[in-house]
């Protein structure tokens, strides 16, 4: 019990440390650059007095270390600054956009798991036969598809040419179909390969032979026995891929003009709204760190061998 608790504490401390590092990197990248936010907001024709007043208002006249501590303090208390362009707290913009992205990500993960389980199972049970080859080749091909391009191509086919689906925005549930598919595609190919190789490995283990020797039907051997253990790494992969998924969401949301946090990030970059930029990057990174933490803990819970090894 004590070791489990110790592991939990160590893991939490590491997560906090990583978040602090991420916040510092963001602060350094955004603040210690030649660009002057005051000049960017006020425009080049602003007077010196206006600029000075704006700098004071934004806290840019403070020493860099004071700004840094202020930023960290704000991040801890949930104050991530105000949008330069919209004059509302950055957290408000993020609170409006984040649920949309989470919805999209969850749908994509569900779709990927639902599609890749049967595919991986099929490939593993018919290893080196035609269906296995077909699955393996198509996963290889799917992985080679650039997400922004496949998004544009699907948009071209299904909404511009066939006019079956709405092209942009989020007006009705149909708008979710194309972004979900684009987000799910790379995940499907990774998961299918994982499930295939995981099953192949598990099928060679002695407890499967035991199950067969007991005279259990092939169905019982495969489903509860093999699939359950082959499913464990899938959880890790889904967790690890979540970060990639959030990165992909930036691209996908831009193509489909989907009102999520990725699009918020890209538009605030275009408008040089640095407070919103740093707030949304911080939130995405925090989400990623937290999900990895949960996945790690879940992994130990699902696979007792990991707990003992620790």
């Amino acid at each position: 019990m004590r070791t489990v608790l110790g592991y939990l504490v160590r893991r939490l401390l590491l997560a906090v440390f990583v978040l602090w590092g991420v916040a510092t990197v963001i602060f350094l990248v955004v603040r210690v650059v030649p660009a002057d936010p005051a000049l960017l907001i006020a425009g080049t024709d602003a007077s010196q007095a206006q600029l000075d007043q704006l700098r004071q208002q934004l806290g840019l006249d403070q020493p860099i270390i004071v700004q840094y501590l202020g930023f960290l303090g704000g991040a801890v208390t949930g104050d991530l600054g105000t949008s330069y362009t919209l004059r509302v707290p950055a957290t408000e913009l993020i609170a409006a956009a984040l649920p949309n992205t989470v919805l999209l990500a969850v749908l994509a993960i569900v779709l990927a798991v639902v599609v890749s389980f049967p595919l991986g199972l099929l490939a593993a049970l018919r290893v080196d036969r035609f269906s296995d080859r077909a699955v393996t080749v198509s996963t290889l091909f799917t992985q080679a598809l650039p997400n922004f391009w496949i998004a544009v191509v699907l948009l071209l086919i299904f909404s511009r040419t066939l006019r079956w689906l709405p092209s942009v925005g989020l007006e009705n549930p149909l708008s979710l179909i194309l972004p979900t598919i684009v987000l799910a595609l790379p995940l499907i190919s990774i998961l299918t390969r994982m499930i295939r190789s995981g099953l192949l490995e598990v099928m060679g283990e002695s407890y499967i032979q035991t199950a067969r020797a007991k005279g259990l039907s092939e169905r019982v051997v495969i489903f509860p026995h093999a699939v359950r253990n082959a499913a464990i790494p899938v959880i890790t992969i889904v967790g690890l891929q979540f970060g990639t998924l959030l990165g992909t969401a930036v691209v996908v949301e831009t193509v489909f003009a989907y009102p999520g946090i990725g699009r918020l990030l890209v538009t605030s970059i275009q408008q040089r709204d640095y407070n919103v930029v740093q707030a949304s990057v911080l939130v995405i990174a925090a989400a990623f760190v937290l999900i990895n933490l949960v996945v790690d803990l879940l992994y130990g819970f699902l696979d007792p061998r990991v707990r003992i090894a620790k």
């Binding site: 991420v22 990197v25 290889l140």
Partner: protein
């Protein structure tokens, strides 16, 4: 009787091994030939067409593939919104993408391998620092890091190279470090150490050669990742500067003309897919050939 059966079994195993080896060779040679053809095309085509991305020919704008343009040339893949030849533009874009990929690989590979060698060889504080840095960086979707840095640095080919190097050096460092850790206690390394080899000699002459194979495998997959990241950044408008043709920026330009000129967005993507497939297959084949232990899914 048994010996005859054994001989047959051995023969079959050898046959299978030989066939597997031949298929690995094909999986290395075929992608290399296609990549080579693209490299030659990227060098020669823009020069043959005398391609200038800023030159407008408004009479022949948005023409479908195969149209004869106003100056009497055949536009193989059609023309873009200012009447530029799409084929020449795609090849010029491929050139930029490959150049950025190669430059990034050199920088990220050099820095990553160096840090990996130092961390693996010395252990202790340098190692802990590196691994924590890697943790922080891996907590960041790397495209996000790239977008963040370019948005601050401004667009430009060199900025892209720097940003992508920052995003991908960690992979090289980790691979080199783990390889050094496994090599470190081998007898030949012990022998070199006993003979009085210094840190520099141990790292560069003794450990580095053993770490080259996995680094080459990783470099292949990283090259594909870098080319893809550059295209994505240019597509989002935080990549190459305006007026520089890139596969990503051409795809983006085409999105404004999807209903009237589908070819502008479609064909650069096809080239990108071919590149990704070739590097994917090549990476897998190299891994099978040089480092079966890295074999995963």
């Amino acid at each position: 009787m048994t010996s005859a059966a054994d001989t047959i079994a051995v023969n079959q195993t050898m046959l299978r091994a030989r066939r597997a080896r031949r298929s690995v060779t094909a999986r290395i040679v075929v992608p290399l030939v296609i990549i080579g053809a693209l490299v030659v095309g990227a060098i020669v085509v823009p020069w043959l067409y005398n391609y200038d991305p800023l030159q407008a020919d408004l009479i022949s704008r948005l023409k479908p593939p195969g149209t004869v343009t106003s100056d009497g040339r055949i536009a193989l893949l059609g023309t873009d919104q200012i009447g530029g030849d799409l084929f020449a533009q795609i090849m010029a874009g491929t050139r930029i993408s490959l150049l950025i990929g190669a430059a990034t690989l050199v920088i990220a590979g050099f820095v990553g391998v160096l840090f990996g060698l130092i961390a693996g060889h010395f252990g202790g504080a340098p190692d802990t620092t590196l691994m924590r840095l890697a943790d922080i960086q891996l907590a960041f979707p790397s495209i996000l890091l790239a977008i963040l840095i370019v948005s601050v640095l401004g667009q430009g080919v060199w900025n892209i190279i720097i940003v992508l190097s920052i995003a991908s050096w960690v992979v090289f460092a980790r691979v080199t470090r783990s390889q050094v850790l496994t090599l470190k206690n081998r007898e030949y390394v012990e022998a070199a150490r006993t003979l009085g080899a210094g840190n520099g000699h141990l790292m560069l002459r003794t450990l580095l050669p053993g770490a080259i194979a996995p680094v080459v495998v990783v470099a292949t997959t990283q090259f594909a990742a870098v080319v893809l990241a550059e295209a994505a950044l240019s597509f989002l408008g935080v990549g190459v500067p305006l007026g520089t043709p890139s596969l990503g920026s051409t795809i983006y330009n085409g999105t404004q003309y999807l209903t009237t000129a589908w070819w502008i967005s479609t064909f650069p993507g096809v080239v990108l897919v071919i590149l990704m497939l070739c590097f994917g297959i090549l990476g897998d084949a190299l891994r099978d050939r040089f480092d079966p232990r890295l074999r995963s899914a």
